[in-house]
Subunit: 123 residues, 2 copies
């Protein structure tokens, strides 16, 4: 089904529902624009990744380097063409100790697709 | 103290700490720019309020129309010149039933001051 006729609230709800089921890749594949831009706060290669293939590769890298024990997903929170999702993650990064990570994603929607995902880290 | 020499992380942490103490007005007065813009998702008079005096009046209106039983504040979450704070509120809006409201604010910082606060509502 085309997502172009969905409201931002509907897209936010459907995207977040997939995340709550642990289907993070499905959520991206359904709702990312071909020109998706994925932004992390830290400088480096991963700070701004552009395009579906590159963002898919970023996800594959992350899964290869983190053992995921659990993710709590809260939201969505909606305003205009943007929505926010909170992720509280229980993971073991490769070669490091198991730890909790608390972050939010701010998603920008255009024409029924997510054109930007911007992650904010809790401290 | 001038906030111009503070990093966005420092501003986010100090602003959120005041909110966690229930000092929401102090947080605004210390960190808002004179040109602060405050945005709510719903259409209407309050959807975009500009300037310290108008945003102060918006706050006074809100306090006059909501009895606050408790607010849980989580964050901040930081990325570049923006940060996010989550507010889970237990309030009784005037003439309505006591209820919980879950929202996040996305704050944009320029030159040591918050120039925009944009609220997103949970559903």
């Amino acid at each position: 089904m085309s997502t172009e006729t969905m409201s931002v609230q509907e897209i936010a709800t459907a995207f977040t529902a997939l995340c709550k089921e642990g289907k993070f890749e499905d959520a991206g594949h359904r709702f990312w624009s071909d020109d998706i831009v994925s932004c992390e706060p830290n400088p480096g290669d991963m700070s701004e990744v552009k395009g579906r293939a590159a963002v898919d590769a970023k996800g594959a890298w992350w899964y290869a380097n983190n053992e995921v024990h659990g993710v709590k997903v809260e939201g969505p929170y909606v305003h205009g063409h943007q929505f926010v999702v909170r992720f509280t993650m229980d993971i073991t990064p490769k070669g490091e100790a198991r730890a909790s990570f608390d972050e939010v994603g701010v998603y920008t929607v255009q024409a029924g697709k997510i054109v930007e995902e911007r992650f904010f880290y809790g401290s």
